[in-house]
Symmetry: C2
DNA sequence: TCTTATTTTCAGATAGTTCTGAAAGTTTGA
DNA sequence: TCAAACTTTCAGAACTATCTGAAAATAAGA
């Protein structure tokens, strides 16, 4: 029975890992990284590099690079078992924490550099007081303000505990 | 004077187009598409294919493909000028409308398929009542609920007028 | 210090994406 | 119905991202 049950969920898990990897592409995250994350997120115990290589049929270099990358995001952490030399990895499993980590990282990668560009362009055309030049300046300014505003909302939400975020959202939706 | 002024803002615009294109990559949008969008967003008048090809130094095929793609997103629209045969394009310039369009599209591309996977995995392991199988089921369920919740929030916000969204956000931030 | 287990790096290979340019298709007006 | 103006398509080229595998680096115990 235990064996059968185990087989059932492991099958589902394999599918999850495979599909999540495919989805990674849509998300701008590379397939292997997404697969490793899915694998660790559903791992009952921390795993080490060779296990991961074996499960996903990937090379050592690939596994290592993407494990580093995931650590960099803060989505997985290194675990050392006493008496053992090799490094194990485990994923953050709390959905809200995961969300906050991803939101922050995306903000840093997507919004911050965009804001710099907008600020620069708005600044350079501050003197435009008529015609197309003014319109351009206005557009840059509007975009800049919108992005800044979005960042503030995102920071506020990211600073919340799960419970109070729920609270807040229920009010919004109700 | 007019010529000088024009030169100034056009320089800034060129930079905006170039940089926005580079940013597109981070955003999972291809460079050309982002550049065309930036160009049209800052165009005083609708533009046609050959103008765009010339400004961005891209081929006809490339221009055409990406113009179609942008129309598909709803970020630009086709304009016909009476008495003229060729098609002109103009971009949606309202920041809030742009945001809603992008949010909807990203939801469709990123969230909808993810939700399907999660539902499938949660469904398949509904019978798991103990041990690792149950944990897996719980994890899928949690993720599913979180994504559904996020979608609801996103729908609600997307349904708002700019003014009431601001209203709401000020309350959140204040 | 030496040996062995483990991790990291990176040049070249592979796979995936985007772009070009020319040919085919479409529309319009004479 | 024809020709000109314009748009679409798509095979192959160019470019980019990712992966492999083996060698180099590192760390720990004997």
């Amino acid at each position: 029975m235990t064996a059968e049950t185990a087989k059932t969920w492991e099958t589902s898990r394999e599918e999850f890992v495979a599909q999540w990897g495919a989805l990674g592409s849509n998300w701008g995250i590379n397939r292997t990284m997404a697969q490793i994350h899915a694998l660790l997120m559903t791992a009952p115990e921390p795993m080490y590099t060779d296990e991961i290589m074996l499960r996903l049929h990937i090379s050592r270099g690939n596994a290592n690079t993407n494990l580093r990358e995931l650590s960099g995001w803060g989505l997985i952490r290194l675990v050392v078992k006493k008496g053992e030399r090799r490094e194990y990895f485990e994923a953050e499993k709390d959905v809200w924490k995961m969300f906050i980590i991803i939101a922050k990282e995306r903000k840093r990668r997507e919004l911050d550099p965009a804001l710099d560009v907008l600020k620069g362009c708005a600044e350079q055309t501050r003197g435009e007081t008529a015609g197309a030049g003014r319109d351009f300046h206005r557009q840059m300014k509007e975009l800049q303000e919108f992005v800044e505003f979005g960042m503030k909302v995102s920071d506020t939400v990211a600073g919340m505990k799960h419970a109070s975020a729920l609270q807040w959202a229920i009010k919004l939706l109700g």
